[in-house]
Subunit: 341 residues, 2 copies
DNA sequence: TTGTAGGCGTTATCAA
DNA sequence: TTGATAACGCCTACAA
């Protein structure tokens, strides 16, 4: 592999001059610079980020630790984050933990060893809190995504409480009372979506106990469970918590020969072009903002470091919180229930 | 950040002994090892991959350069690749080029500077061939994905010719003749899917010119174009080239009040749970294999290096090719055309 | 404006 | 079985 030494030899300058040419903040005689760049071009020289990191103690890499893939939400988010980070010269290192505590730990350890400058993480469990602490102690900027699982860690989250509220409120306003709310936040006692649903009931002056919350078990096909919940409760409306469950719920409706919206009203959590095609209302997220907010928070925290490195004070990491507001996309899948109430 | 020096000091050994403890291939007295590991644990020491890379000249990072995100195919693939690479201790660095030649170049340059050990890339243009050459010259193992754009670069591709063939053949066998084939490979003269469609026509003894290939312009909503093609050709069947277009085509059918399969038969290229819900036949890909094949090819090529590093011969990179075979998932969206032909 | 030289945290080679 | 030591490629004072 070509090194700056090689370039120096060809350009007849010292290695440090080559180095200077590739850091645009330093002044070099323009003739010399030309000569160096030409030599570099000829030889196919690309600065070695590893060696750079060695000296500068910054890898220029940001870690991203995700649960899984089967959610267009995450891939859109990833793409967006990457596009903003690359503008500032950062690269993205990606890893998945499958909602598994042990795998999360491995991901975090890998990121530590990789000496990432910053880490985005969708956290799994408080059990791994020690590692997050360790990272922060080592001046790795951590931003938890989607959920605010850890206190005192900067967060960009989705306001699922509001999302749940919006969906339920709209159903209630339309006159629905027997609403099945499918839920799937397997590792939380009080999933925020459900909390929002409850608030909608309260604010509409309806007893919370009237909401039919269905907690779906993990790893089991929920079609039959959902169908059962609808039928046994004579539900006139259903709210689903994510795309995979939405698909299953639509299948359940079809099996029961329930047509939307005549027999049952439907609001899906998380939007998709398919829902548009099917004319199903959805709680959508401003995806343009999501990645941008995440990247900006990270970049701000990283700047903090740079700014602070001059003095010797440890960077005061103010714990920040951005809560992204979902919105209701109205489509033809909701109408007032027939006759009764 | 804690270094092996720090650990050495606490454990009362030399730095090299600490180093040995963290490379499991070396023998160390088990008591010493215990002492060292305990000290490391206490201090929160994690080996510095950057420094490791400095010496070993291997970053342990594999690059992945993708067009975009809005395709579940890529996210599934990414997740799968990552899971296999991590088993062998490699990390994944991700970047997107949006089908843009210049951005592809930037991605590749970043990957060079990052000194990735290997690179997966969905190539955009032959224009950047020089960079791919440069990478191979520098012993970075390159595998192009999805398309075989560059000769002499190892490839894991989808056999789109076969996919197109399967779809068209089935339609023809059912008796369809007026088939609209939507196409979207904007940067190739003879998209493989279309080529396969043509072969199906030939092998069925039908003149190729009878296929109604519709080349969709980039960046324009294709709904109206597709609807127009269907109506003007009195098509009894349609084949769509990817998920976004499939959605648009379904919308087009609805607008024309064409019901599937009574008025028109439908096969989509690329499968999705939504297509299953909608009972639309699809050309699917064995996703379990895709990531595995890709990762395996890369790992084999990387092993090659290791094996070869002992001697001083440059690794002989045999250009490999894996062509992944799609298959037809039959659903209720195809039936024989009514009466005519 | 350019060159010299020391060091970043590992690995790997020699000695002991 | 361990320790001392020389790289790896770049950055950055400090000198010239």
């Amino acid at each position: 592999m070509v090194t700056s030494q090689d370039v120096a030899r060809i350009a007849n300058v010292s290695q440090s001059t080559v180095s200077r040419c590739f850091r645009n903040d330093v002044y070099v005689n323009s003739k010399t610079r030309m000569r160096v760049l030409k030599a570099a071009e000829e030889l196919g020289y690309y600065p070695n980020n590893i060696a750079r990191g060695m000296k500068s103690k910054r890898s220029g890499i940001i870690g991203l630790v995700l649960p899984d893939y089967d959610n267009i939400f995450y891939s859109t988010m990833t793409k967006s984050i990457e596009s903003y980070l690359k503008l500032k010269g950062y690269r993205l290192m990606l890893s998945y933990h499958d909602q598994d505590v042990k795998k999360e730990r491995e991901c975090l350890e890998t990121m530590m060893s990789s000496r990432v400058d910053g880490l985005f993480s969708v956290p799994v469990s408080e059990e791994n809190r020690d590692l997050y602490n360790m990272m922060e102690k080592n001046d790795i900027k951590v931003v938890q995504l989607i959920r605010k699982l850890h206190r005192d860690i900067s967060t960009v989250m989705i306001d699922d409480e509001m999302g749940g509220f919006l969906a339920a409120k709209y159903m209630l306003d339309q006159g629905h009372r027997r609403i099945v709310v499918a839920e799937f936040d397997f590792n939380e006692k009080a999933p925020m979506k459900t909390t929002g649903v409850m608030r909608a009931f309260r604010e509409s002056g309806i007893d919370e106990s009237e909401a039919h919350i269905v907690n779906l078990p993990y790893g089991v096909d929920p079609t039959a469970i959902i169908a059962g919940a609808i039928m046994s409760n004579k539900a006139t409306a259903i709210i689903t918590p994510n795309i995979p469950i939405t698909i299953k719920a639509l299948e359940a409706c079809r099996r029961q020969h329930l047509s939307i919206p005549d027999d049952i009203s439907f609001i899906a959590y998380d939007d998709s072009p398919w829902l548009d095609l099917l004319n199903i209302a959805a709680i959508a997220h401003p995806m343009d903002d999501v990645g941008k907010d995440m990247a900006n928070m990270m970049l701000t925290m990283l700047d903090h470091v740079t700014a602070n490195n001059n003095g010797k004070e440890p960077a005061i990491t103010k714990t920040d919180l951005i809560s992204i507001k979902p919105y209701l996309v109205l489509r033809g899948s909701v109408k007032a229930p027939a006759g009764d109430v």
